[in-house]
């Protein structure tokens, strides 16, 4: 939260009633979009592919679910072009739970995002897990009432997404691997980049902005406040309560769990355990207690042996 950046965009009413005076209710403002992510903090957002899984997630204490047709682990195995989910399938999940429902659009695929907004999805993930639809441009997210979360591997990438209107950032990690090594790298990188900005003087920030390939105003704001102006979650490879706890200690404000829950031996128990571990991330006694008796974790993939062409985190720029 905090001081608004890009205030000239922030007050633009995205909905149709443009004749409204300033005191009229406004939807789709930056504060409303970013504020939604603030409410998810300290929580776990779970990938689900059926209404039944969505119910399990809600009952386990998830703060939101991500509705998709295939979890990243299956996308890896099955290959092919991966797209936005069938609206019927998303509707089924919206009907099944009362917590927020997110869904993924392909990078740059603004028409998929328009569809997701039209069916009432609460947050759109412009996601590298799906096959990118545009090799040069991400979606102009200011043009939407629905807020967007985007992946980032470093601060420059995060700030480029913010400049395009993202209201929440997550680390990319390497989705569908059950291996946190990439998420760790991205969280440390983003945090390190922010710290480095803090020691620069005003003159040096211009060069820093150039190096980060990010708008100067945003770079300056981060240098001044020492934090991103939006909520930062982690994603990609989180499979155990200890994974979630580690990410929170590395500065994540919440956790996306993709394949890690429903590709494991006992999804009900594991889902609840990761929720508890995210709240008590700094209490090893709690983490130890909730880590017991969870059955088998998902089978992981070794990221360093993954061929470049199969890596998802390199999608988007």
């Amino acid at each position: 939260m905090g001081a608004a950046v890009y205030s000239h965009r922030e007050v633009t009413p995205v909905s149709t009633s443009s004749s409204a005076e300033t005191t009229a209710p406004e939807t789709g403002t930056a504060r409303v979009k970013r504020g939604m992510a603030e409410m998810l903090k300290g929580g776990v957002i779970m990938d689900v592919v059926t209404p039944e899984q969505a119910k399990i997630a809600e009952d386990a204490g998830a703060v939101a679910v991500m509705a998709l047709e295939r979890v990243p682990a299956d996308i890896r195995v099955e290959g092919g072009v991966s797209r936005m989910s069938d609206p019927d399938m998303i509707d089924g999940i919206i009907a099944a739970v009362s917590i927020p429902v997110m869904a993924k659009a392909r990078i740059g695929h603004f028409a998929e995002a328009q569809v997701l907004q039209a069916i009432g999805v609460d947050y759109v993930d412009e996601s590298e897990v799906l096959t990118p639809a545009d090799e040069a441009n991400h979606i102009d997210k200011w043009a939407f009432t629905v807020p967007f979360v985007c992946g980032a591997t470093n601060l420059g990438e995060a700030l480029r997404r913010l400049a395009e209107g993202a209201a929440m950032i997550r680390s990319k990690g390497e989705a569908g691997t059950g291996n946190v090594v990439e998420a760790t790298r991205h969280m440390r990188q983003i945090r390190g980049d922010i710290k480095r900005l803090g020691v620069l003087d005003d003159a040096e920030l211009y060069a820093a902005a150039k190096e980060l390939r990010a708008p100067y105003d945003l770079v300056k704001e981060v240098a001044r406040t020492g934090e991103l102006p939006v909520v930062l979650f982690t994603a990609g490879g989180i499979a155990t309560p200890a994974d979630a706890a580690m990410m929170m200690q590395l500065g994540a404000q919440g956790v996306f769990v993709g394949s890690g829950i429903f590709k494991s031996g006992d999804p009900v128990k594991r889902a609840a355990a990761i929720v508890k571990a995210t709240t008590f991330y700094d209490d090893p006694d709690v983490i130890a207690k909730v880590s017991r008796g969870l059955g088998e974790a998902m089978v992981g993939l070794n990221v360093s042996t993954l061929p470049e062409s199969e890596r998802l985190a390199t999608r988007g720029w």
């Binding site: 005191t23 789709g28 504020g35 409410m39 903090k41 929580g43 204490g61 703060v63 609460d122 508890k276």
Partner: protein, 196 residues
């Protein structure tokens, strides 16, 4: 004397409330355990997901201690999910969803709709001087009906939707003053705690 006010830190926008309370002249601290609850003068229940907060409060043995302290008269303020937690009755909750309770009213969860319907608006509040506050509503609840002892402090302009209430030592808003940098509602609450 500076009151010590806890923020229930199971999930939600805890940091924003801590900041607003500190700016309003209180000593603020996070509360996740019964022993932390025991030492605060008052409590804020933040915005977040009420079903998650309920589950965690139940699992980590906070629900009963919270009920006892509120029954004993500890001042509490809830924003959004916090309002739901302080309500005696919920509409639109999930199966079995419990609250801490204390406010004699019915709250309707997600009453204003989904995130695309979330909005901000200017709202005049009884007891809060200096003009209307900019209120941010995020998948917000509203108060469906109130019992005799509940004072209505504010409604959405041009509607009958009740979005701010007080009953004795309990205060609740459907919206999130912690997101705006305007600390008048937190100051109002800190004053409630001081007067007690």
């Amino acid at each position: 004397m500076t009151p010590v006010i806890g923020v229930l830190a199971l999930q939600g926008d805890v940091a924003e409330h801590l900041r607003a309370l500190t700016s309003s002249g209180a000593t603020a601290c996070a509360v996740r355990r019964p022993r932390e609850l025991a030492v605060v003068d008052a409590l804020v229940i933040p915005g977040g997901e009420s079903t998650t907060m309920w589950k965690l409060a139940d699992i980590f043995d906070l629900l009963e201690p919270l009920r006892i302290r509120i029954k004993e008269g500890m001042p509490a303020y809830g924003s959004c999910a916090g309002m739901i937690m302080l309500a005696d009755r919920i509409e639109g909750g999930i199966e079995g969803q419990e609250t801490v309770g204390g406010l004699d009213l019915v709250v309707r969860r997600n009453a204003f709709g989904r995130q695309v319907d979330s909005f901000e608006a200017d709202i005049t509040l009884k007891g809060v001087a200096g003009g209307p506050v900019r209120a941010v509503f995020i998948r917000a609840p509203w108060v469906e009906s109130v019992g005799d002892g509940v004072e209505v402090l504010g409604k959405v302009p041009g509607t009958d939707r009740i979005v701010a209430v007080r009953q004795g030592n309990l205060l609740a808003t459907s919206f999130h003053p912690e997101l705006t940098g305007d600390t008048r509602i937190h100051e109002y609450f800190v004053e409630m705690v001081r007067e007690r």
